[in-house]
Symmetry: C2
Subunit: 235 residues, 2 copies
């Protein structure tokens, strides 16, 4: 069985499955995202996706070469959703902030797809559009090319890295997630002041702060530092 996948636009004969569903790339991607959204990270397996579609699991291999290809399709869909409806204001700092938060948020809405795809280069249309947009914000904002490129790199990597990091936390099986929470309460909450004075002194602050993502603050720090590098910055 080689080359069983037929490209989407070459498809003609859409035979319904036994249960009456008519498959398509679009339907599969949407169903996969819905499955994940409704039943969590563990719900996405070839078997379960087949069941949700009303098809034999192996039918998916007519549409995606393997699960990795399916995940890249999900990833590009997420990048696309991050940009839906966004409009540039022309103010580079506000625009970068918005893009960062949108990418982060979009990936977080589908944690386990994000996890598997945040470190891949898909080269698909939604991705290239995002690259173009962000580079444009920086160049139109007045940063010279070499600096714009360095900032672009740090900015995008940071957004994706935090997205993956927070997605990983959100995608943890319930048992592991509870284990992490309990570690905070049971271990860090009880470290003695003589061996761990700094943790002991700040524990309430720490426990409160760690509940949320560190990204928004890290993003603000990056934007502040970048502003200081702007040609127009005084000093």
């Amino acid at each position: 069985m080689s080359a069983r996948v037929v490209p989407e636009d070459g498809r003609r004969r859409r035979r319904p499955t036994k249960q009456g569903a008519v498959l398509s790339e679009r339907l599969i991607v949407d169903t996969a995202l819905r499955l994940v959204g409704e039943h969590g990270a563990d719900a996405l397996s070839v078997r379960r996706l087949g069941a949700a579609l009303g098809a034999d699991p192996s039918a998916l291999y007519r549409y995606f070469r393997n699960t990795d290809a399916l995940l890249l399709a999900l990833a590009d869909e997420l990048i696309g959703r991050a940009q839906d409806g966004w409009r540039a204001t022309g103010e580079w700092r506000a625009d970068l902030r918005a893009m960062g938060l949108r990418i982060h948020g979009s990936y977080l809405s589908q944690p386990q797809a994000a996890l598997l795809a945040a470190h891949r280069t898909t080269g698909r249309p939604h991705e290239t559009r995002a690259v173009e947009t962000i580079l444009g914000i920086l160049r139109d904002g007045g940063f010279p090319d070499p600096l714009a490129v360095r900032i672009y790199h740090a900015f995008v990597d940071q957004a994706l890295a935090f997205a993956a990091q927070d997605a990983a936390a959100a995608a943890l099986p319930p048992a592991a997630a509870e284990a992490d929470t309990e570690v905070w309460r049971e271990v860090y909450g009880r470290l003695p002041a003589d061996s761990h004075p700094h943790v002991a002194a700040t524990f309430p602050l720490l426990a409160a702060d760690m509940r949320d993502s560190g990204y928004p603050f890290a993003l603000e720090l990056m934007l502040a530092a970048v502003a200081a590098l702007h040609p127009d910055a005084r000093g």
Copy 2:
């Protein structure tokens, strides 16, 4: 079978396996890291680890409640290695920089293991020591507690997130890695200037910059922004 795991210090009877190995937490963790380092993340399964140890796979469950517990042990080992031989200089900026680069480097030295562990809270000794150290750098450096805690959070998350991100890239199977590289050359290198003017204009700079990790620059940006927040900063 409940409560089959006996804590390491309660162990007395070290019965050798059929193949003559004498198991211990230490031996299992080291073997697991070696396995992952040599044969990739996929090589880490209970069965394969058992085989590498010369023991029945289920023997591992006498030492770790489940694979998650084993992963946390691996993560803590990496954190420990990041701190080996480090000494504070008393200069918060230099110390933070060193810690960031050490954590990042330590995880990168075992990309496959880092991938599996970078987003967990272990609560184990090496981890609590690292938390204490970093908090200490900030508090002793003159940051008031609420600010120190926020900075700590952003700093640690950034280091771990980038570590995981870069580890993921380093751990890609050769085929996928080459696919990503080719996407850069074939897709981004050929985007037409009329649809993607910014990418087209900066492609050589972009391709060169993206080869390395974005972390060092992102770290410098964060440190610069943090310096501006220091109580002693003018303005």
